[in-house]
């Protein structure tokens, strides 16, 4: 990992942590979940945070396959401390879709 991507990674994680800490005990908004997903993806998939937006297509834009999605979900479960149904996520096309599904669980 390059120095600049490490900096980006820390920034993304910090941003996600502050987003989740902004409203302790409350359900996270879709935008906060997107931030969480972005932080995990930066760390897990060596992506640049700037590449990841709500509209990013998982497969075409980010090269995330079904195995990656499962690993992403395992990690998201730890971060969000909630059950996430892997199967419901397999049909998701974009980051926004994933955040939408998680926010409804």
């Amino acid at each position: 990992m390059t120095e600049s991507s490490e900096v980006t990674s820390e920034t993304a994680t910090d941003s996600a942590v502050s987003a989740s800490e902004a409203e302790p005990g409350q359900a996270m908004s879709k935008q906060e979940i997107v931030e969480k997903i972005r932080a995990v993806m930066v760390d897990f998939f060596e992506l640049d945070a700037s590449e990841i937006s709500e509209d990013s297509n998982l497969v075409e834009d980010l090269d995330i396959d079904s195995i990656d999605t499962i690993d992403l979900m395992i990690e998201m479960r730890k971060h969000l401390d909630k059950e996430i149904d892997d199967m419901a996520l397999l049909d998701c096309k974009t980051i926004g879709d994933v955040a939408e599904v998680i926010s409804k669980m």
């Binding site: 998939f45 195995i67 990656d68 990690e75």
Partner: protein, 271 residues
């Protein structure tokens, strides 16, 4: 039967194939016809085995041995017919168990070499072969897994743990040039998740033939020389940091394997 002159009269002199070339095309045709006909043998053997009072694991081993024998027969036949010469080097001294066997994929007959010369190899086959009336029973009895199986990874992991070897062509399809090597992550996914070693097999055909988009009869005028070389087995923990998150391990291992093949093929091509 039309003469060579009749077959080639409409072509300019410099484009007319030699008699040797015409023979090679005919030999390729004979090989493919025999290959298709020979496919009946595993199907028939499968039917016999399916009613035999044997353990399914024994049936699987018997059928895989037959398939391996058939593969070696076809390789020998094509050599006999003058289609190619071949060299196989560095085969593992002992029977390989529980390895993810990977191979670069430049020509149509790559799988024949791997299935013919490595022991107890399980293929990941196209879903259509599991429903085709001629191949359905052999595919099932040989214990091959289909690429559409939603539990492919779990099934393959169980097979590796049981000592079977799983063959994966990381490129997914035949490449267009030898150093293209656009590896997908499937082999790395499996090796990381199963904690299984990989056995890299390098296959090279000089001059290139039977590649992606090429017809079976489009053979170069020169004799083909095929080499199959087994590289030393790769253990995941020796080439990547296994404390990293798994998605990073998949990516690092895929890059490592791509570089391994790039070096091996470059070296082989410079010889």
């Amino acid at each position: 039967m039309p003469t060579k002159r009749a077959l080639t009269a409409s072509l300019p002199a410099e484009q007319r194939p030699s008699l040797r070339q015409l023979w090679r095309i005919a030999a390729a045709g004979i090989s493919y016809v025999l290959f298709a006909l020979g496919g009946v043998l595993p199907a028939f053997y499968s039917l016999v085995l399916s009613v035999a009072p044997l353990d399914p694991a024994i049936k699987q081993r018997k059928l895989r041995r037959l398939i391996a024998g058939l593969c070696r027969f076809y390789i020998g036949l094509m050599k006999f017919l003058g289609l190619f010469s071949y060299t196989i080097t560095d085969l593992p001294a002992q029977k390989t168990r529980g390895h993810v066997v990977i191979a670069n994929h430049s020509m149509l007959i790559d799988a024949l070499f791997v299935l013919g010369y490595l022991d107890n190899v399980c293929c990941v086959v196209k879903a259509s072969l599991a429903t085709n009336p001629f191949t359905r029973v052999p595919v099932a009895l040989a214990g091959y897994v289909t690429n559409s199986d939603p539990k492919l990874l779990e099934t393959a992991t169980d097979k590796l743990a049981a000592g079977e070897n799983i063959l994966i062509f990381p490129e997914g399809t035949r490449n267009s040039f030898d150093l293209q090597l656009e590896f997908k992550r499937g082999a790395a996914n499996l090796a990381v998740i199963a904690g299984a070693p990989l056995l890299p097999v390098v296959l090279i055909c000089r001059p290139r033939a039977l590649g992606k988009g090429e017809k079976w009869y489009e053979l170069p005028a020169e004799n083909l020389r095929i080499t199959m070389q087994c590289l030393p087995a790769v253990s995941v923990e020796n080439c990547i940091d296994t404390t990293l998150p798994r998605p990073l391990q998949y990516r690092r291992l895929t890059t490592h394997l791509t570089n391994l093949y790039r070096d091996a093929i470059s070296q082989a091509m410079s010889r």
